[in-house]
């Protein structure tokens, strides 16, 4: 097998490879120190890259504009998604209040845009109201009778759409409830609670701009009537009243947690896939040529070229964590009491005398005060498999264990008594 390319190593670390591919790569990594080094480098790049991207984080988690199918006045003010449009919205010109001197107005650009949207909302609401009044005047529909949900939204969304009252509602996100609120809130004679006002402006905010342009006279009239209201609504939205603010924070917290939980699930899923791929090595019955296994059967790791890494000294081809070790072994890994492991990893089973050479062994690596490596190897015994029985190779439960390394056998025997 030729050397592993970076893309393959990234795919391996991302848990994207098939079981047979993982097996091949692990076999190669066990024999190729150059690729082992490259894997370490790739791991560093991957971790660093993830860290950098995570640094570009929103100050707070965005709240979806249409969080609930039945919005209430207590819902935090958000912009609603625009209604579906038949034409490409990017073909539209920018909103009316795009400032000429943008440099001077950059800091207020967003606020002006919202003001513009709120004003145009009022325009459309007013136009819709006029149309409604006209329509009811002819049809005799009682003013206080709630309109059918299917037909009411169109009257609010745009004058054009009211021309086809049997059409389906076209609001993208808001359902019919807030739309009815809008219709009531837009009635000039009716008292308008602040919450309802804010809600109405919010729910229809993105929709009106294009329709308003087709009704300039009515638009101007309605804008004059409702302009200040729209302004105060926009201010309300920007200032975030205390009650809504609490809800916003709560929702932001909930969403933050949900996002973290999803990220954790994703990491968990990747770990599971990697673990499944590794564990599936058992089923592969991977046989290595005798010529390669025989010389490698010596327990001690082969001396590495120039500046061997700790992993190379320990004969580990892939570092793993506690979770992965526990998955490999079906139980937490055994450790030497009173010592802190340097790291854990997988070593070729064929390099450990008496181990099943078709599977890797979990190797916990320690360093004694003299800097010598002590290796505690572990492998789960299969059904019917006999474990080793020797002073430094023994069976504990359904695990076979081997203790070896750079210190002498006498010293290792002392450590053997502390294996838990």
């Amino acid at each position: 097998m030729s050397h592993l390319d970076e893309g393959t190593l990234h795919a391996l670390l991302d848990g994207e490879l098939e079981t047979n591919e993982v097996a091949e790569i692990q076999a190669h990594l066990g024999a190729c120190s150059a690729c082992g080094l490259r894997l370490r480098e790739v791991k560093e790049f991957l971790a660093e890259s993830d860290r950098l991207i995570a640094a570009v984080e929103l100050g707070e988690v965005a709240t979806p504009p249409a969080a609930s199918p039945a919005p209430s006045a207590a819902r935090p003010p958000r912009r609603e998604a625009p209604e579906p449009r038949a034409t490409d919205p990017w073909d539209e010109p920018p909103p009316l209040f795009l400032p000429d001197n943008e440099t001077a107005a950059d800091r207020k650009a967003h606020r002006l845009r919202r003001l513009n949207q709120a004003a145009m909302l009022a325009v459309v609401v007013g136009a819709g109201l006029l149309w409604n009044n006209l329509y009811r005047g002819h049809s005799g529909v009682p003013r206080d009778e709630p309109e059918a949900a299917a037909s009411a939204p169109a009257a609010v969304v745009s004058p054009q759409e009211t021309a086809r009252p049997d059409s389906t509602p076209t609001l993208a996100v808001a359902d019919t409830a807030p739309t009815r609120q809008v219709a009531r809130a837009a009635t000039p004679a009716a008292p308008r609670p602040a919450a309802a006002r804010t809600e109405s402006q919010r729910d229809t905010q993105p929709t009106p701009v294009r329709h308003a342009e087709s009704r300039p006279a009515a638009a101007e009239l309605a804008a004059n009537d409702t302009g200040p209201t729209a302004d105060s609504g926009a201010d309300t939205e920007r200032a975030a009243p205390s009650g809504d603010s609490t809800v916003t924070e709560d929702m932001a917290t909930v969403r933050q947690r949900a996002a973290e939980a999803l990220a954790e699930l994703d990491r968990e899923r990747r770990r599971d896939r990697a673990a499944a791929a590794t564990a599936a090595l058992d089923a592969q019955k991977r046989r290595r040529p005798a010529a390669t296994t025989a010389p490698a059967a010596a327990a001690a790791p082969a001396p590495a070229p120039p500046a061997p890494t700790p992993e190379q000294r320990a004969g580990i081809y892939l570092r793993i964590g506690l979770d992965e070790a526990a998955r490999q072994l079906g139980a937490p890994a055994h450790v030497i009491e009173g010592m802190v492991p340097m790291f854990m990893g997988l070593a070729q089973g064929s390099t450990v005398t008496g181990a099943d050479d078709t599977r890797p062994v979990v190797r916990v690596v320690y360093q004694d005060p003299q800097g010598r490596l002590i290796l505690l190897d572990q492998q789960r015994l299969r059904q019917g498999q006999r474990g080793p029985s020797a002073p430094l190779a023994w069976t504990q439960g359904d695990h076979a264990l081997w203790l070896h390394g750079e210190p002498s056998a006498e010293i290792l025997r002392a450590y053997r008594a502390r294996v838990r």
Partner: protein
């Protein structure tokens, strides 16, 4: 809005905004583009929603970027300065500075590499990345490898430049 779309919205909106924010560095733009993306999903409900939504969003970013370039309205840095401070001015300044450097490093990547990286950060697997970007699945690993390396190298180069300057 149908229940399916409402569910899509709940499921992907935050992720979409986060990805768009990382891409544009402008929260308002990110929210606008996310909403526009969902508006298009309403108009033409997708079969495979997640790749579809992110592909549309990335297309919108490109369109919007071209449009903004012609109007000379690059406001990312100003916008970044306008972000509300969350943990005091010093923390906020450092966070924004770090984020700006990462965004600058991201800007050094080519479009495809950058998008692959951002999608991966949102939990996309290789198949979804391939579907979103129109790549062969087998090319995703190489794309990500190149993207990650370049991102880190570009960032480190900035760090070195900063240290030299100071």
């Amino acid at each position: 809005m149908t229940a399916d779309l409402a569910q899509l919205f709940e499921q992907y909106y935050a992720s979409l905004v986060r990805m768009l924010y990382r891409r544009t560095g402008d929260r308002d733009r990110a929210e606008d583009l996310a909403q526009e993306t969902f508006a298009r999903a309403v108009a033409a409900p997708p079969d495979n929603p997640r790749p579809w939504l992110f592909a549309v969003a990335l297309n919108l970013v490109r369109e919007d970027g071209r449009r903004a370039a012609t109007r000379g309205r690059r406001l990312e840095l100003l916008k970044a300065e306008q972000e509300e401070p969350a943990n005091g001015p010093e923390h906020d300044f450092e966070r924004n500075e770090a984020a700006a450097r990462v965004r600058a490093a991201l800007a050094a990547l080519n479009e495809r590499d950058r998008e692959a990286l951002l999608l991966k950060a949102e939990g996309f697997d290789y198949e979804e990345i391939a579907a979103t970007l129109g790549l062969a699945k087998g090319a995703v690993g190489t794309t990500l490898a190149r993207a990650r390396r370049r991102l880190v190298e570009a960032y480190r180069a900035q760090e070195r430049g900063k240290n030299v300057a100071s």
